[in-house]
Amino acid sequence: MKVLIANRGEIAVRVMRACKELGFGTVAVYSDCDRNALHVRLADEAFHIGPSPASESYLRIDKILDVAKRSGATLVHPGYGFLAENEEFGQACVDAGLTFVGPTPHVIALMGSKTAARQAAIAAGVPVVPGTADPFGDDATDAWITSEAARIGYPLVVKAVSGGGGKGMRTVATPEELLPSVRTARSEAGSAFGDSAVYLERRIIKPRHIEIQLLGDHHGTVIPFVERECSIQRRHQKVVEESPSLALSVETRTAMAECAAMVARSVGYTNAGTIEFLLDEHEQFYFLEMNTRLQVEHPVTEQVTGIDLVHWQLRIALGEKLTIDPVQALTPRMHAIECRIYAEDPDKGFMPSPGLVRALSTPSGPGIRDDRGVTAGFEIPIFYDSMIAKLVVWGDTRTDAVARLRRALDEYRVVGVKTTTPFFQWLTEQPEFLEGRFDTTYLDNLLKTRQGQVFAVADAAAERDATVAVALMSWFRAHRAVTGTAAPTTSGVWRQSGLREGLRN
């Protein structure tokens, strides 16, 4: 049996590893710039699907289905991103007689709509952020809007139905601001998305982002897992995830997990999915949305529970019954933390810093999992998300895990490109992070106060070390040129490299 992995990078590699462990063949797809990517090298088979831009390769349903046909793959795993939450792709797989490793196209579509998902949660009796029941258009009267706002309570947020990335969104602190804010949000959404429908929602103060992973099989069983906390966000992007959350009592965990399972059951959810909640200062939680796919941060759940989610995705897709012990799924055995290491320069506003990875040295030893899609010699492309790796660490306690994280970050050396490692080294020294006193606004606020200060400052000693290193490397180069030890014409590729010569005495 062969599985086509319709993705690239670390998640394609991670899914392939699960396939190999289960004895399935693996089929990779790749764009121009990914020819020598790790996911191609580890696959049993690999097929070129087009130029580097995702719209011409990884987002081309027709090309991916063509590869499935040519390779004889019978399962398709979409990973996350790209086509993972595209119901058309799910449907196209089904129509082509392929097994899509994910929920049904119908459920992808249903839970993909923010308002439909919210309705489903309400119907399942799960708390949602108080707000208008439905979005409203230009026909809503000012009086109705004002009375709805009073019912919801201030501060509140006006959100465009089709919004995203902060566009079509306005925070309203007082009744006076309400109607003007609704008007600007509407007009912004209308011009940006062609849809001016908006809704009102209470603004949660100091919200924490807590989510519940779950698995559902085709026999009616839904198993919820211990929560993940993903409140460390930069511009609404998660950068650190952990499990368990320091903010949750066991009672709240149980209640939240039960709510998540109720929503999933109510829509007949199958395969892996995640329900995101906001948690307020009083440990009240509210349904936020559902992600109908494997999450980037799934490894922290795998670590703390010992359950392999991708194995189960494949087994569920093949019709197996879930045999996971629900208590094991809901009981953290340890504490795990994930950092997303990106090819970005944290000292220049997290500007992407793609390029050639000249050499690579990754942490190992106890308590480390490195999910990576990049090798030495690979040029991180400019066309996609510039993630290098997800570094996951664990320990008996959160304190142990953080100590290990620092050790692992010190060992992580991606030579030739700037990475977010110095940022994480800084973050793991912050008292709020260490004490678990944070919410989704924490990091953006903190970064604002730093005003672009450098995260890892090269002090006088470091400057001196760098000076010595550069002088000596220049010496070696000059020395080699003089003595003519370089590049003997009969020697090999590796022998010609400075490394090779350098290490032969």
Binding site: P352, G416, A462, D465, V470
Partner: protein, 171 residues
């Protein structure tokens, strides 16, 4: 051998002398940095150099060479850029003509220049925005690496640039 190495806007004068048997794999050196001596055992590694100083301190350094005499130095505690014999490199550089102390802003990645925020002769403060490059669907504002006066602008708005392309010279 003697080198001039620019790091963090400071120029260090360094001399390197080998001590005893030293091959291309490494060996023992006496290094003078701005007149201060240091004894160091240096070996080449897959990442760059392993340094062990006379007092036992061990530092694992990753080194990447870049165009224009730049070295990108990745220490365990911080990353820095250094220029070896910057004057020599700058002399040979087309369109530059900058003297020591001049700062060049280069494109950190392939992209498109969307806005130029200064004109030649403008005084700019440290970190003040100078040019905006769009890449990977994000606009990235490149700031002045130090306070100074805009000497030269080598690109136009809308122009596509490759990584490392010299955009602006500040003196």
């Amino acid at each position: 051998m003697h080198f001039e190495i620019d790091i963090n806007e400071r120029t260090h004068k360094v001399s390197v002398e080998k001590v005893g048997a030293t091959g291309p794999a490494g060996g023992a050196f006496r290094v003078l940095i701005d007149g201060v001596p240091a004894a160091v055992d240096a070996r080449r590694t897959d990442l760059g150099l392993s340094l062990v100083f006379a007092d036992g301190r061990s530092v694992d350094v990753a080194l990447t060479d870049r165009p224009g005499g730049e070295w990108f130095v990745q220490l365990p505690t911080a990353d820095v850029s250094a220029w070896v014999d910057a004057r020599r490199y700058q002399r040979g550089e087309s369109g530059g003509g900058a003297k020591t102390g001049a700062q060049r802003i280069t494109a950190p990645m392939p992209g498109r220049v969307v806005r130029i925020l200064v004109k030649p002769g403008d005084e700019v403060a440290h970190r003040q925005g100078v040019v905006v490059v769009e890449a990977m669907k994000m606009e990235n504002e490149l700031g002045a690496p130090k306070a100074g006066r805009i000497k030269e602008i080598l690109v136009a708005e809308g122009q596509s640039v490759e990584a490392g392309r010299l955009l602006v010279v500040i003196e």
